[in-house]
Amino acid sequence: MIHTDAQARHINVLLVEDDPGDVLMTREAFDEYLHNRLDVVNDGAEALAYLRREEPYADAPRPDLILLDLNLPRRDGREVLQEVKDDPDLRAIPIIVLTTSQAEEDVLRSYQLHANAYVTKPVDFESFIEAIKQIDHFFVSVVQLPS
């Protein structure tokens, strides 16, 4: 898609997050930007089902951006990352790992599995909002996303 007006661009974002509190917080942060559609799945298996448009996600849009938590039930975030990047259909979708972990091994592993970015959720909410804003700005306005 060719965008002329950055403000008007509407992207689909998939949030893979199990913690309801974090889901709420992220929604709150995204609520500031109405032009994004935010879909949420709560575990890795659901995420893959959504991406493959399996039931009950047959009508799901293809996300332009995935925000992925690492510590998920059933299928772990790392597994999802690996599977998505292994799948030729899905690997083009940018994935931002958004997690509480600061551990270097998590960072390294995520990039090794071809995550596009790794963001540690700031402990402070104001900073969290700022981070989401920046993600949004960067991926919506600054970079080109594959269509």
Binding site: G21, M25, E28, E104, K121, V123, D124, F125
Partner: protein, 528 residues
């Protein structure tokens, strides 16, 4: 290890085998030696006695021959010659009537007298049992000849002497002289034979003694070899095997009692050493086990601290974030009191987060270190200063970095250290005084002393130790930010590198100097 009793004697080697049982039953060396010496002495005495006896007999025989028999024989010869002379003289005178022919007679008589005297002198010795008798017989015949013929002739008186009678009488003399010399010859032969026999005995005795000596030497040699040399070299061989490494090889006592006892003692010593070694190894294994247990316990503890700190973050984030959300969404709709409540709640949660983060950082010291490497402190200081740039600029302060060395350590931890110390120097500045923080290093006693000096509010000497306690603050929360972990963290980092840290008033009185000693050689990494 073997404990020494108060008396100074080491603990005995344990039960020694009974001395009686030691050894292979051989004679004790001492007894063998004593017996051998006694036998040798007896044999020597015997040899000397026999030898002396043999020699004595030889000498005796020789003396008999030389001093008795031979002179007797030559005296007999002289007697015979003297008698012959007499006869010749008398006959000559008888024929010629001239007195000069009596000269041989006179000489012969003198010779006869002398010889007879000699013979009689010798006739006392036992070789010549019949010598006196023989001489008597001769003299008797001579006397008969004289009276029957010689004197008559010499007297020259009218009565003619019958030469025939003279010849007959002289023949008798000759016969008896012949018997004398014959006996003397026999005696001489006997004496010679005796000398020969005595010589033979001497030689035989000598050979016998030599043979016995040889036999003795052989026995001694064999005895020494079997009794001493072989057991000793066997013992030496076994001991050498033990010495060159195989402590488990038993030493078998053999040979005469002394050597067997020695062997038994060596064996006891070896067994003792083996026991001590085993005990030591057990102790060492136990210590290793304890060290491993301790290590594991440490790891578990640190992991617990890490995980706990990490997991504590999550709920805290919720509290803090939703309080803030409350603030954002409902801040205007609630009353002031509610805002205050929310404010304190958020503040509390945020402080807790910072405390947990600091605790996390504190517990991570030493956990994430891969290994020590050479670290350029100058570069580290520059990085820390760069990180503090915004703070420094805001205060219009100054960070002065002197010549810093290269040390061995963990670069991330050392950067954290300098960040803390220099940050403190800036943070605790005096009102109205531009903060100046100096970072310097000097080599003292083989270790690097890194000092961070500021011109700030200083630390009272009575708190010089307290400041290093974790979460310990000297000022109210409102005055200076921070959890009070900075110096505790610095201390842990310095001690992890094997060094020491201390605070002291800055030179000149105002401000603080933090002195860190970093050894040039890092210690074993097992004990952070």
């Amino acid at each position: 290890m073997t404990a020494t009793a108060a008396g100074g004697r080491a603990r005995p080697l344990g039960p020694l085998r009974s001395r009686r049982g030691a050894g292979s039953g051989g004679w004790p060396l001492r007894r063998a030696f004593n017996v051998g010496a006694a036998v040798a002495a007896v044999l020597a005495l015997l040899a000397i006695t026999l030898g002396a006896l043999a020699l004595y007999r030889l000498v005796e025989a020789r003396t008999a021959l030389l001093d008795t028999v031979n002179p007797a024989r030559s005296a007999a010869e002289n007697l015979s010659a003297g008698l012959l002379n007499q006869e010749t003289g008398v006959r000559g005178f008888d024929l010629t009537g001239r007195p000069e022919f009596l000269e041989p007679y006179r000489m012969g008589t003198a010779a006869e007298r002398e010889a007879v005297a000699r013979l009689r002198g010798l006739s006392g010795s036992e070789e010549f049992a019949g010598l006196a008798g023989d001489v008597d017989a001769v003299q008797e015949a001579v006397a008969a000849w004289r009276t029957g013929y010689a004197d008559l002739v010499i007297a020259g008186a009218g009565a003619p002497a019958d030469p025939e009678i003279g010849r007959l009488l002289f023949d008798e003399i000759r016969t008896r002289v012949g018997a004398l010399t014959g006996n003397l010859d026999a005696a001489q032969a006997d004496a010679r034979a005796r000398v020969d026999r005595a010589s033979a005995v001497v030689v035989g005795t000598g050979i016998g003694i030599a043979a016995v000596l040889l036999a003795l030497l052989v026995i001694v040699g064999v005895g020494l070899r079997r009794g001493v040399l072989v057991p000793v070299s066997q013992l030496a061989g076994e001991v050498r095997e033990v010495v060159t490494g195989d402590l488990t090889r038993a030493v078998t006592p053999t040979g005469p009692r002394e050597i067997a006892e020695l062997g038994a003692d060596v064996e006891a010593m070896r067994a003792h050493i083996v026991r001590e070694l085993d005990a030591q190894q057990q102790v060492s294994r136990r210590l290793d086990q304890q060290a491993r247990d301790l290590e594991r316990s440490n790891r578990d503890l640190e992991q617990f601290a890490y995980v706990a700190s990490h997991d504590l973050q999550e709920p805290l984030r919720k509290v803090s974030s939703f309080c803030q959300l409350l603030q954002r969404r409902y801040g205007g709709q609630l009353d002031e009191r509610a805002d205050q409540y929310i404010g304190f709640a958020v503040d509390g949660a945020q402080r807790m987060q910072r405390l947990i983060n600091d605790l996390l950082a504190f517990s991570r010291v030493g956990r994430t270190t891969e290994g020590f490497e050479p670290v350029d402190l100058a570069a580290v200081a520059a990085a820390a200063a760069a990180q503090l740039e915004s703070v420094r600029a805001e205060l219009a302060g100054e960070i002065v970095v002197g010549a810093l060395p290269e040390v061995t350590g963990d670069p991330a931890l050392l950067r954290q250290l300098l960040l803390n110390l220099v940050g403190n120097g800036l943070k605790f500045h005096r009102d109205g005084v531009v903060p100046v923080v100096r970072v310097e290093a000097e080599l003292r006693d083989g270790a690097w002393q890194v000092t961070v000096t500021d011109n700030g509010i200083g630390i009272e000497p009575e708190y010089a130790d307290k400041v290093f306690v974790i979460f310990q603050r000297l000022h109210g929360r409102d005055r200076y930010p921070g959890t009070g972990i900075g110096l505790a963290l610095a201390k842990k980092i310095v001690e992890f590198h094997g060094g020491r840290i201390a605070v002291e008033p800055a030179p000149g009185g105002a401000g603080t100097t933090v002195r860190c000693t970093l050894p040039t050689q890092h210690p074993s990494q097992e004990d952070p």
